[in-house]
């Protein structure tokens, strides 16, 4: 894992953080703006932040902890091919970029599930129509 640079949240001067924040708010909506905001949010919350290369490799244990899930859960995702992994000797490794891609896909699926939950009555009546058509 190549660490390019790391920030100890407690040691960041408040005026620098404020300057970064006001700079970020001048940017148009973009991935970079989101990244700068999430950086300031994390630091303000006292979270240490590390900037890593996208091709950084993670062990399954590190990936599970980052995704806030059990290792059993992660292995299921790996077995189903939801997250790409590769073999290093007997162990599996995951690329950070693949994790980021997985997160993006997970956002879309979460959104669809939330919308489905908000339309349970419509889904039920559509299911009834499907059954009627099958009779």
């Amino acid at each position: 894992m190549t660490v390019i640079t790391e920030i100890d949240a407690a040691r960041v001067p408040a005026d620098q953080l404020a300057a970064l924040e006001s700079f970020a708010s001048t940017l148009d909506e973009s991935a970079l703006r989101d990244l700068l905001f999430s950086l300031t949010i994390s630091v303000k919350n006292g979270t240490d932040v590390a900037l890593l290369e996208s091709d950084t490799e993670l062990t399954p244990a590190q990936a599970a902890s980052r995704l806030k899930m059990s290792r059993t859960h992660l292995y299921k995702l790996l077995d189903r091919g939801e997250i790409v992994s590769h073999q290093v000797g007997r162990d599996r490794r995951l690329l950070l970029t693949d994790l980021v891609q997985f997160e993006a896909a997970r956002q879309r699926d979460r959104r669809e599930l939330a919308e489905r939950f908000a339309r349970t009555a419509q889904t039920r009546s559509a299911a009834i129509d499907e059954l009627i058509d099958g009779l």
Binding site: T40, N45, R71, T72, L77, E82, R106, A118, T123
Partner: protein, 336 residues
């Protein structure tokens, strides 16, 4: 009468034509109004409409046994069975296509069957076309199919709820179990559901990670019935909708140790009462990035809150307590 294998409840039910003709004797005027206003879906179940003749027909020609009755002799073209209750007379036709017995004509016995208005006299005067018109129409069949489908779907959901409960009690704390779900009507495989519970520890807290994999057969993928199964399974495991995460057809919910057991106990009470548990919509008010929420709740589209929760806004967000995580982030960024 011979029994045929049918998905429908064979219990006698009235045709719409009969309901229009039956102007007297109703114990409640609501069904007649529904018929005249075309609100046919308010009539379900048709076999239980409040009229003595309909009640007699449903009791005599039940779902699995029939009482004895005679054939109406004044009609030759169709085999009609005679039904009597008080002054009321009815005719029941055994439909070979659906297996259902239709109460398709009604009237009063008058003047020892010599009166022109007498039920049998009136039937006897009918020509072939009149007699054929007694049979159920396409709309009658549609209502029958709807009733059958709703009953099958409800029974299916209750069964899934029980199966998930049994499964949960086996995997609580730790373990994996698989359920096989069959189609609600057809004799066919519909889905495999695997529920896995793993307890694990983060640095400063313990949690339970419950993963639900729902593998639908190809024909069911993307169908409303497939989604309905998915939602029913998830609600049976853990009803708060915002607790669920999704990756393709793999769903997960993370909770404090013991919470799944508590939800399983709660589910048992629903099963006891033969009731379906409903989903619990979010009950906190989240902040979002200056988006106009009105359009989202009208269209039912989901938005992402500052705290990361994805939710579909409802009209009544204001009455909820504010989400502390969102408030914390907002306090840091007053301009958001």
């Amino acid at each position: 009468m011979c029994y045929i294998k049918t998905v429908h409840n064979r219990r006698a039910r009235p045709t719409l034509r009969l309901l229009r003709d039956l102007s007297d004797g109703w114990q409640d005027p609501a069904p007649q109004r529904a018929v005249s206003e075309g609100r046919h879906s308010d009539l379900h179940p048709l076999s239980e409409l409040p009229h003595p003749l309909i009640a007699k027909a449903a009791a005599w020609f039940g779902s699995d046994q029939d009482g004895y009755c005679e054939r109406i002799r004044s009609v030759e073209r169709l085999v009609l069975w005679e039904l009597k209750t008080g002054q009321w007379r009815g005719a029941v036709w055994d439909d070979p296509d659906t297996g259902v017995r239709w109460l398709c004509a009604a009237g009063l016995a008058k003047g020892d069957h010599k009166d022109r208005d007498d039920f049998y006299e009136a039937l006897g005067r009918m020509d072939n076309a009149d007699v054929d018109a007694l049979k159920p129409t396409a709309e009658d069949i549609r209502l029958l199919k709807r009733e059958t489908s709703v009953a099958a779907l409800t029974a299916w959901e209750l069964d899934i709820q029980s199966q998930v409960h049994a499964c949960l009690t086996n995997v609580l704390n730790q373990g994996e179990q698989r359920l096989t779900i069959r189609h609600p009507i057809r004799d066919a495989h519909f889905a495999d559901v695997t529920i896995t519970v793993t307890a694990y520890s983060e640095t400063d807290y313990d949690v339970e990670d419950c993963v639900v994999e729902i593998d639908l057969v190809d024909a069911a993928k993307g169908s409303a019935l497939g989604w309905h199964l998915t939602l029913r399974v998830l609600i049976s495991v853990n009803p708060p909708v915002q607790s669920w995460d999704a990756t393709d057809t793999m769903y997960s919910t993370i909770s404090e140790p013991g919470e799944l057991a508590r939800q399983a106990d709660d589910l048992a009470a629903y099963i006891e009462r033969d009731e379906l548990r409903a989903e619990q919509p979010g009950s906190t008010s989240h902040y979002t990035h200056g988006r106009h929420l009105a359009g989202c709740y009208i269209n039912g589209t989901a938005v992402r809150a500052l705290c990361g929760v994805i939710f579909v806004p409802t009209q009544d967000q204001e009455r909820f307590e504010h989400c502390p995580a969102c408030q914390g982030i907002r306090a840091l960024f007053p301009h958001l």
